[in-house]
Symmetry: C2
Subunit: 577 residues, 2 copies
C-alpha cells in the first residue's frame, strides 16, 4: 500500500531526530501529542512473542526517554502549541504478506540476501491512528525503532514537532551493517594492526559480562545495526566454553568466572536475534591462537617466543601448526563445535596477520611441511580447505579477513565474505577478485585508534592507527569508492570495530557511542538522504546529537560530541561559522 | 622517632601496590593477615571529626576492596602461607607534636608552604600493632591512604605479602599536586589550545553533578593529590551561582538545574578539604568570558563575533572589555564575590588566550583606550592590577596562565603562581622571570588530547594537541628540566588537566583514571624511588595496574592500561620482551 501524502509534508526538517535517516521520508511541521493512553496495536494473527516484547519495549521508551528538544529553551516555547495539538491515540502494526509469520529472531538470522528489513510508516497529524506495515516481523521491528525516535518531552507531555510523517518505504541500502565491539574473549591484540584484539573488557569480569554485551546490542538495535561480529577468542584468552573442548576455556580463560558458558552464548545470541541482530562469531585462525597452547601445546608453534614482535603483531606469540594434520583436524572440529549451535549462516575463521617467522623457526612445522611435500602457502591452503569445509558441512558461509584473499594464494569459495580492514583502499582489490566484502577499514572505522600505545616500555609510542577516528571522518566513508557499478553488488555493507586492549566495561560505551552509529547510517541510508542530497556531516550532526542524548536517557554511556552550547546552536561551532 | 628496621626489610618488591610510591620505604616478603577484628585506634586527644571519618573510610576500604593479587593464579598459591601468617590486630594513629590539633580540612587549605603532609608508618610482621604518626591530621590522612593500599583478598582473607613495612618518613617532593578535571562550569573551550574549556560534563546535568565531582575528589585523594583546580566557568556556560551576581548563572547557565549553588560549592569545598584537597577556583579573564554577555552585554567585546576563529580559540567569541573602568570594577567585584567564601589561599584569574582582534574591532574598547590614553597592554595592566588587588585584599594569592608573564608586559607580584600549559619548554622562561610555577604542560599532561576534533564541519580535523598523552609519556616528565638549582624552589609542583568539550559524566572517569595518577607520583615521590633509582615506567606499570584495579573496586571507572594477560605477567608485553 501507499500512504496518501498530505499537502503539508515537506523535506525533512534540519534536526529531525532520526538515525539512521530513512531512505524515504516526508514530514510536516505540526505538533502532535502522544496520548497518555497511547497504545500499540499488533494487527498480526498469532504474533510471535519477540514481536510483542519489542512492542512493550517501544512503549517503555515512549514513557521513559523524556528527551527535551536540543534547542535554546529546550522546547519551552512549544508549550502553547501543545495545548491545541492533535493527539495520537495509537500505532497499528500490520504485516503485508500472507506468508507464515516468523519471529523477529528467525528473520534476523536468515542469509543477508533474504532478510526483509523494510517498513512503511505513517503518522497522521490529525489525530488518526499511526500505521506501521512491513513484510516481516523484522521490518516491523525496524519501524518501531524509527517510531520511537520522534518523541520529545516537555513537562511530561510527549510530542513530536514534525507531524504528519510519511515514510513510504524505508529499506536498507546495504544488507550487512555490523559492529564489532569485538568481544574477542577478553583477550586483546593487534600491536601493529589491532585486528585481532579481543574485548579485554570481557577478560576482566567474565569477558564483557553478559549485561554489557546486551546493553551494546540494545544500542546497536537502536541504529538498525543487524550484525554483531563477536571476535570471542584471541591470543590472550579463550573465554568460550565448548562442551566438546572444555579444556580450552578451563586453561585459557583468565579465570573460571571469566568464561562464556554455552548458556551465556545462547542468551546473547537469542537476545541479539530478538533485537534484529545476527551474531557472527569469529574464532581467529591460524594466527592469534597463542592461548590454545595452555591446553594444547602440541597444536601451537612459537608459543610465547621471544621477542614477541618477531613472531606476532601483539604479545603473546603463538599460531596453530597449520601444516600438522592433527592440528587441522582439531581446528575443523573446533569450528564445528562452535558454529553448529549458532543460528547464523555465517562464521568467521579469521585469517589475519599470519606470521611466517613463527613457522620458520618451528621444527615440527618444518617437519610437517617436509613430510607433506608442501610449502607454507600450500599447507595454508589445505588448512583452509579443511576448516572452511567443516563450516560448509554445517551450511555456514565462511567470513575471513582480507589477507586470506590479498596476501595468500588460496582456493576459496567465492561465496566467502571478506572483511577489508588494513586500508579502505584494499576493497577494490578484493572486489576485483570477485569476492563479496564487508568494509571494516582501520583508516575510517577503528574505534580504538588514537588512545595511545599500550605496549610496555614505549613512552613515545602512540596507537598504531593514529589518529583517533572522529565520527566526522567515519561519516565521509564512501562504500563504493573505486568500486565499479558492475562490482557494486559485492559490497555487502560495513562495520565499525573496537579492539579492546585498553577497554573493558568501564569505557565500552564511551568509546563506541555515538561514533559507531555513523557506519550504521552510511550502510542503512546509503548515498543520499531522503531529499536527494548526499550524506554530509553538517546536516548529520544535530541528528547525531539527538541520538546521543537519547542513548544517555536509555542508559548507554554515549559521550558528548560537542559542548552543549554548540548542541543547542546548530552550526555555530562549525569551523567556518 | 625512628622505626627499628628488622633484618628482613629490603628494597621494595617489584609490584608493591603503592601509588605514589613513598619516598622512603623498606618492606619484607612476609605474609601478614589483617585480623577480622582489625581496628584503627586514634590516639589523639579530641580528634577532629574529619579524622574520625577518614578512619572509618579507611576501615571500609579494608573490608570492601577485595583486590586479588595481579599475578598468575591471582594469589591462590598464597593460601598455605596465610594459614600460618601473623595477624595484624590494629593500627594506632598518633600525632608527634604538641600544637593544637586542627582538622584535616584546616590543614589542607593552608598556604602550600605550611602544609604538613608527611607521615611515618610501621607495620610489624610479627603480630604487633601497626603505628602511623605524623605532625598533623593531614599527614595522618596521607598515611591512612598509604596503609589502605597494602591489602589483598584471597577467599575472604585480607592480607599483605610484604610484611614487615617501614616508612620512616614520607614527605611530598612538591607541595602542589593537582588535577584539573577542569570543572569549568560545563562549558568547554580551547579550540587551538584547549586550556579554557570547562567540564562540559557539568553543563549537561548541573555541570558535573556534585556526585561526580566528589567521586573525582575521592580518586584524587587516593593518590595524594592535594589541589583541585576548578575552572568553574568558561565561554559557553556560567554555572556558578553567586548571591552578589545571581544574573550570571540565571542567564548564563545551561539551565536552572545546571548550576552550582553556593551550597553546592561549599559542599564540594568541604568534601575536598576533608580529603586533604584544597580547591583552586578559576574564573578565567579577560578572555573566555563570552557567556557573561547573556546577563551583561555591556561588559563583553566581540560577543559571538563571526567567524569565531578570528576572535577566539573556541566558539563563542567574547572577552571582557578590559579597558572599561566599569568592566574592571565588575570583574574585581566578581572575583571578590567568588573568592571570599572559599578557604583557599589561592584563586585563579586565568589570563590565557587573549585575542587582540576582538578588541581591535570593538568600538567601545577603542573609545575607552583613547579616553584613558592607554594602549591595550597598558589597559591590561590596569585591569590586572585591579583584579589581582581585589584578591590581595582578601589575602589570596593570584594564579595565572603563562601568557600573563610570557606574552604580556604586566606588573605582577612575584607572589603570583604561574601555570605553564602551552609547552613544557616554557617553564624555564617563567622561572627566569622569578615566578613560582606549576607544571601543566599540554605536551605531557593534557588528558583530552587525541580524542579528535569536535569543531563542526571539519572531517579531517584532529585534536589540537594530538597525540593522546599516554601515562607512559606523562611519566617521563621531568619537573626540573631546564630549571637551574637556584630556580628549583620556584617549581611548586604540577597537574594533569582535562578539558571537557567532549566529556561529561559518561566518560569523566575513563579519561582521567588511572592516567591522572602519573603526575601525582611524579610530584609526590620526586626524582627517585625509595631504592634510589629514578622513576621509570617499567617499574611503575605493575603498581599502576594495581592502583587501577583498586580504583575499579572502589567504584571509579578507571580503564585498563593493558590486556589482563599482560597485567598478570609483568614485563612480557614490553616492546623489547
Amino acid at each position: 500500500m501507499r500512504w496518501r501524502i498530505p499537502v503539508s509534508l515537506a523535506l525533512v526538517p534540519h534536526a529531525l531526530a532520526l538515525w539512521p535517516i530513512p531512505r524515504t521520508l516526508k514530514a510536516g511541521t505540526g505538533f502532535l501529542v502522544l496520548s497518555p493512553q497511547f497504545s500499540i496495536n499488533v494487527n498480526v494473527a498469532d504474533p510471535p512473542q519477540d514481536l510483542l516484547d519489542a512492542v512493550s519495549e517501544t512503549e517503555g521508551f515512549l514513557k521513559t526517554d523524556k528527551l527535551q528538544r536540543l534547542v535554546l529553551g529546550r522546547g519551552s516555547s512549544d508549550a502553547g502549541a501543545l495545548t491545541t495539538a492533535a493527539v495520537l491515540p495509537s500505532l497499528t502494526l500490520t504485516l503485508q504478506n500472507t506468508l507464515p509469520v516468523l519471529p523477529i529472531s528467525a528473520e534476523a538470522v536468515k542469509d543477508v540476501a533474504n532478510r526483509s528489513e523494510g517498513y512503511t510508516l505513517s503518522i497522521p497529524g490529525d489525530g488518526k491512528a499511526a500505521v506501521l506495515s512491513a513484510n516481516s516481523t523484522l521490518g516491523l521491528f525496524r519501524g518501531l525503532t524509527t517510531f520511537s525516535q520522534f518523541w520529545y518531552d516537555l513537562n511530561g507531555v510527549t510530542y513530536t514537532n514534525v507531524a504528519p510523517v510519511s515514510i513510504v518505504k524505508d529499506i536498507p541500502a546495504y544488507v550487512w551493517r555490523s559492529f564489532t565491539p569485538t568481544e574477542e574473549g577478553w583477550c586483546s591484540q593487534s600491536y601493529s594492526r589491532t585486528v585481532d584484539s579481543c574485548l579485554t573488557l570481557l577478560a576482566i569480569c567474565k569477558s564483557f559480562p553478559v549485561a554489557d554485551v546486551k546493553r551494546t546490542l540494545d544500542a546497536m538495535s537502536w541504529v538498525k545495526i543487524n550484525m554483531f561480529h563477536w571476535h570471542i577468542v584471541d591470543s590472550q584468552s579463550f573465554p568460550l566454553s565448548l562442551p566438546e573442548f572444555p579444556e580450552l576455556a578451563q586453561k585459557g580463560a583468565y579465570s573460571s568466572s571469566e568464561v562464556y558458558s554455552p548458556a551465556d552464548v545462547q542468551e546473547i545470541v537469542s537476545y541479539a536475534a530478538a533485537h534484529g541482530i545476527d551474531v557472527l562469531m569469529e574464532i581467529d585462525s591460524p594466527g592469534h591462537t597463542a592461548i590454545i597452547a595452555e591446553s594444547h601445546p602440541e597444536y601451537i608453534a612459537c608459543s610465547q617466543a621471544s621477542p614477541w614482535s618477531t613472531f606476532a603483531n601483539e604479545p603473546p606469540a603463538g599460531q596453530l601448526r597449520l601444516a600438522s594434520p592433527a592440528t587441522v583436524n582439531f581446528t575443523a572440529a573446533l569450528f564445528t563445535a562452535a558454529a553448529r549451535v549458532l543460528p547464523s549462516k555465517y562464521f568467521s575463521t579469521g585469517g589475519d596477520e599470519l606470521n611466517t617467522q613463527c613457522y620458520a623457526q618451528d621444527a615440527q612445522t618444518q617437519a610437517d611441511l617436509k613430510k607433506a611435500g608442501k610449502n607454507l602457502e600450500q599447507a595454508l591452503n589445505t588448512f583452509t580447505q579443511a576448516t572452511h569445509g567443516a563450516l560448509a558441512n554445517l551450511g555456514k558461509t565462511a567470513v575471513v579477513w582480507e589477507e586470506m584473499v590479498l596476501e595468500h594464494n588460496l582456493t576459496l569459495s567465492n561465496n566467502t565474505v571478506v572483511m577489508v580492514w588494513i586500508s579502505s583502499e584494499n576493497a577494490a582489490a578484493v572486489a576485483a577478485k570477485n569476492f563479496r566484502l564487508v568494509h571494516a577499514p582501520s583508516d575510517y572505522f577503528y574505534l580504538d585508534c588514537g588512545a595511545g600505545e599500550w605496549i610496555g616500555k614505549d613512552p613515545e609510542g602512540n596507537s598504531w592507527c593514529d589518529p583517533f577516528k572522529t565520527w566526522q571522518k567515519s561519516y565521509t566513508f564512501n562504500p563504493l569508492a573505486n568500486i565499479s557499478a558492475a562490482q557494486a553488488h559485492l559490497v555487502l555493507g560495513g562495520q565499525q570495530l573496537l579492539w579492546t586492549e585498553q577497554s573493558d566495561p568501564q569505557n565500552l560505551d564511551s568509546i563506541a557511542w555515538p561514533r559507531a552509529a555513523t557506519s550504521a547510517e552510511i550502510f542503512w541510508t546509503g548515498a543520499t538522504r531522503p531529499d536527494g542530497a548526499p550524506l554530509e556531516g553538517t546536516e548529520a550532526l544535530p541528528r547525531l546529537h539527538e541520538l546521543r542524548y537519547r542513548m544517555v536517557q536509555r542508559g548507554v554511556r554515549a559521550i558528548p560530541l560537542q559542548p552543549q552550547w554548540c548542541v543547542l546552536r546548530p552550526g555555530l561551532c562549525n569551523i567556518d561559522s
